[in-house]
């Protein structure tokens, strides 16, 4: 698809909204972490999610799938994502460079790829192998 064509698609602009939102999430999180401890920030975090989640629940007429496995994974996701988010605020609070911390923590697909390889017996694509090499280079540079 041409650039002009891509610019007319909905998915592209939703993706841009996602990038801007997540950029704002990290910048505002960093600013607030200068005063508020990481644990308190993570305590407040779920309440800040409600303005997005409540309309989502209402739009589904309060109907959610009741698959026990899916719900377990979903809640497990929330617990782990919450711990990760708490650790991110703790990292910001150390006063380290925000751009570096944000970029390093955005490397989490590295762990997902390795876990998928080990647990789901998925195979790495050539691009992912190349990605691993770049991730190792980034870690080596940041540890200098």
């Amino acid at each position: 698809m041409s650039v002009k064509g891509t610019l007319k698609t909905k998915w592209f602009w939703y993706s841009v909204l996602c990038i801007i939102s997540w950029g704002g999430w990290t910048i505002f999180g960093k600013l607030a972490s200068n005063e508020i401890p990481a644990s308190t920030m993570q305590f407040l975090f779920p309440f800040g999610c409600l303005p997005v989640v409540v309309p989502l629940i209402v739009s589904r007429h309060f109907r959610l799938e009741r698959n026990a496995k899916g719900i377990s994974y979903g809640i497990g996701n929330g617990v782990l994502a919450g711990i990760g988010s708490f650790a991110l605020f703790a990292a910001y609070r150390t006063g380290g460079n925000t751009a570096v911390i944000t970029t390093v923590t955005a490397l989490y697909p590295l762990i997902t790829v390795v876990l998928a390889l080990l647990l789901l017996r998925e195979r790495l694509t050539l691009l992912q192998v190349l990605g691993l090499a770049f991730a190792v280079a980034a870690f080596a540079i940041f540890s200098l």
Partner: protein, 138 residues
């Protein structure tokens, strides 16, 4: 070897979010992406007893409390936008690496909003990491 104080918490982020990436894949085998997002927020709430603040949250400045709430809202809005992008017919193989570029916003706005600059070497590291994120998400 000197280790920056942010490094250990950053490793916790990598590990937990790395597992989240895997769980997300598994949860959406059984649930719609919207339901998975809703249950994720339920998981956030389950952590509250362990995070209960030792002092009243109202002792902090209103500005920073609002920034915290805004940060959380934007995080969830971003997750919703990602779902919406997928639903609008975009290919996951393009959308996921594209949206993984959100640190670029911080790199670009950091000097303006946070008054932080990065060294040339850190810049190379950031570039390597961004390329890695895109390739790993592909």
């Amino acid at each position: 070897m000197h280790m920056a104080s942010w490094f250990l918490p950053a490793v916790v982020v990598l590990l937990t979010w790395g597992i989240v990436g895997l769980f997300q894949k598994l949860s959406t085998n059984y649930l719609s992406a919207e339901s998975a997002l809703i249950w994720l927020v339920v998981g956030y709430f389950l952590l509250l007893p362990w995070l209960y603040p030792s002092k009243s949250v109202f002792e902090y400045s209103t500005r920073n409390l609002l920034l915290t709430m805004l940060s959380a809202g934007l995080n969830t809005l971003g997750a919703w936008a990602l779902l919406a992008a997928m639903k609008s017919g975009g290919k996951a193989s393009i959308i996921v690496p594209l949206t993984a570029l959100y640190p670029v916003v911080v790199v670009l706005l950091g000097p303006l909003v946070l008054k932080e600059t990065i060294t040339r070497l850190q810049g190379v590291g950031v570039l390597c990491a961004l390329v890695a994120v895109c390739l790993l998400s592909s």
